[in-house]
Amino acid sequence: MTAESYADAVDLVARSAAAYVAGVPADPADEGLFGPASVTWRVNTDPGAPIAGLTALMVQALHPLAMAGVDQHSAWRQDPVGRLAATSQYVTTISFGERAVAERAASVVRRIHEHVRGVDSVTGQPYAASDPALLLWVHAALIDSAITACRLFGTPLSPGDADRYTAEMVVAAELVGVPAGMVPASYGALQQYMTSVRPELRCTPAARESMSYLLEPPGLGPDIAEIWQDVRDGAVAALPGWARELYGYQAPELTPARQTEIRQALGVLDAVFLGEPGVLEARQRITLRMRSAARS
């Protein structure tokens, strides 16, 4: 392990934390797109949320055209941590930020997407990041992964809440340019949609490469790397079976004891995250707003 590879890992925690803090407003003018009483806030504060993010990336990468866009246009190889931090800042801003700030963030993303187009070298198909079909896939993968991660490593959503969450999040898909009519608004519709896309999915070399990075980020200190193994096993366990098959991953045996271990590893990571400047205060702001909403 070189000193430089440590520097990478420093960034992973510090930059995700900074992104998170930036996304949670101190004195918001409005309740944002969802509001503190929403299921969306509850899902985003669930202990399983980090696994939801990882699993979502792994599912999203299985669409060759979505993956090609990331692979050919983003600088993820040069700055993987920055790419992850930008994504998580976007999700945080959309979830907790003021309405106007969320809309501005989405318009930036839409503008970037305008330039992301090309031909996928694996399938030979042309793609455009602004294609509603691709955006919908990315959206649906996140919702589905979040619901599974809550079930396995956090507090499971009731069937009604899973429906509500899916319906609430329609607006997030609209923000990046998916017509509302295309977006599943219930958990059942979401599952149907996921099944319908399955024939288009495959594990391209780009997907395999980027996911190996994610599952074993180079430069993590040996001790954190061990804790990361638990988190990674959690993310693989939260994948739908077909996605695991496409990647060729073994299904990790998820005994109750193993589930507990993964939750504990998430707790340790969370404690490290809490040590970053501003994270505790941002959490407390969210808790206060959720409690105040629950009282009224």
Partner: protein
């Protein structure tokens, strides 16, 4: 954790800023009256350097909120057992205890670990009045306002796995009631079962330590702390032994109002450790003498050692009178465990026999037998720990001396280090040793420590050497022996 980050200028600046904030808070506390502000703050303890210096800190959100702070605390309060699990479960409570332990046993945590652990402390708000009341009712069979004549629903202090409320009993006694977080025992027990993860965390937090010994120690100590009945037993024993002592006071346990997750003891009031800074040196010396007598009398007479020498665990009343609080980390030694320690101090300080001292160290497991080291080198290494009692005469314990003890303890470059180790049952000793010297160093306490020690050493039992010693001798002459007390309490002779 620590390995993720190398200490940077920025972290150092951040710590300096935290120290300034802590300083400001401490001044405000004096200006605003202790009780009111202690109510307003969750007592957050941050050992700044290897247990040598301490500072208090508070979540910036609370500090910034000013008058609204009380309201904020209420709004963030833990309302359900699920809130407790979210805040202290998934290893977080265990990590806090590791932090507490590491601050005593390691010579300085890395800045990033220290920051993580202190933020973790900050992240725990008090229980809501309803949640705390629920625990009291479950344990005592009555809601607090019926179990007690009066019950203050606002906690006065945070404990590591609970919080402290004031109350008045039906027979009119003012009491402190420690209430455990609901569900914490279950979640921490499950977390302690994940030994592999504990090992990893300890390797990061305390890289200079014997990790296996620490894991075992941590599991044992937390396991004990989760059952308040054990703490009540230790405190009852201490209170019984020191009953009537001229300067040492241990609050009595109220048995009928204590259970597994609730422990009720007499309420004490007095000056806090940080207030001693403004007292005369004479007063500080007397307080130090009492602490010293308490530590060694407890060890030699009742073979008990309080492993939590935190400055927050003392109340000072002037004239050397000290109230000792918090017996959650008391270690009871067997006669066999205690003997080698007695032999070592006798060999080195009284018999002045270095070879015998070396043999005693080997017998206790502190030193590999037959290590290729001259006895002079070993004595040279160990002497610092006995400096206060090796020769007659008065001596001032300074902060420099306290740091020297800490540094020597963890000096891995010493030729002795490779052959030295600390058997598990003695791990806790370093905590009180380092902690007590840190306290006495901050008091710049002067005394004839050797003469006081001789009063207590069972192989000397010297005459009283100070006015306090004379008062203690009078007390000793008029009380049943510790052995008898233990017999009465347990129904068995102490070593049966």
């Amino acid at each position: 954790m620590s390995k993720l980050r190398r200490p940077s200028r920025k972290t150092v600046a951040g710590l300096a800023a935290a120290a300034v904030v802590a300083g400001v808070l401490a001044r405000r506390r004096r200006a605003g009256g202790r009780l009111r502000l202690e109510r307003g703050l969750v007592a957050v303890r941050l050992a700044l350097r290897g247990g040598v210096r301490y500072a208090s800190n508070a979540p910036r959100l609370f500090a910034a909120a000013g008058a609204a702070r009380e309201q904020l605390r209420n709004d963030l309060a833990l309302q359900t057992a699920e809130d407790v699990a979210a805040t202290l479960g998934a290893m977080k409570g265990v990590m806090m205890k590791i932090g507490q332990m590491a601050s005593y046993v390691d010579d300085g945590l890395s800045p990033s670990v220290r920051r993580t652990l202190s933020r973790l402390q900050d992240s725990v708000p008090p229980m809501s009045p309803e949640l705390a009341a629920g625990v009291v009712e479950a344990e005592l069979g009555l809601p607090p306002e019926r179990a007690f004549a009066q019950w203050d629903p606002v906690p006065i202090a945070a404990a590591s796995i609970g919080q402290v409320h004031r109350a008045i009993t039906h027979d009119g006694r003012a009491v402190a009631v420690k209430v455990q977080y609901p569900g914490i025992a279950e979640t921490m027990t499950a977390d302690l079962d994940n030994v592999a993860l504990l090992r990893r965390m300890l390797r990061i937090i305390a890289p200079n330590q014997d990790v296996e010994a620490l894991v075992a120690e941590l599991r044992e100590r937390i396991g004990e702390e989760l059952d308040y009945r054990r703490e009540a037993r230790s405190q009852r024993r201490m209170a019984a032994y020191y009953d009537g002592h001229p300067t040492i006071h241990v609050p009595k346990i109220i048995d009928e109002l204590s259970a597994r997750r609730v422990v009720t003891s007499e309420l004490s009031d007095g000056a806090r450790f940080h207030e001693l800074a403004g007292w005369s040196q004479e007063e500080r010396d007397l307080a130090a003498e009492t602490i010293y007598r308490f530590v060694f009398r407890s060890l030699y007479e009742i073979r008990a050692f309080n492993g939590d020498p935190h400055p927050g665990n003392y109340l000072f009343h002037g004239g050397g009178r000290v109230t000792f609080l918090d017996f959650g980390l008391v270690k009871h030694f067997t006669e066999t465990e205690l003997q080698p320690l007695v032999h070592m101090v006798r060999d080195l300080c009284v018999a002045n026999d270095p070879e015998a001292f070396r043999r005693s160290m080997e017998a206790a497991g502190f030193l590999v037998p037959g290590a290729p080291l001259s006895t002079d080198v070993i004595i040279d290494h160990m002497a610092v720990f006995y400096e206060t009692v090796r020769r007659p005469g008065t001596l001032t314990i300074t902060e420099d001396y306290a740091s020297k003890v800490v540094r020597r303890f963890f000096d891995l470059r010493s030729p002795v280090a490779a052959y030295a180790s600390i058997p598990r049952s003695y791990v806790i000793l370093q905590r009180i040793n380092l902690g007590m010297f840190a306290l006495l160093g901050q008091l710049t306490a002067t005394a004839n420590w050797r003469a006081i020690a001789e009063e207590i050493w069972p192989f000397v039992l010297g005459p009283p050497s100070t006015p306090m010693g004379r008062a203690e001798a009078a007390w000793l002459a008029n009380r049943p022996t510790a052995l008898m007390l233990a017999w009465i309490e347990t129904g068995q002779p102490a070593d049966a």
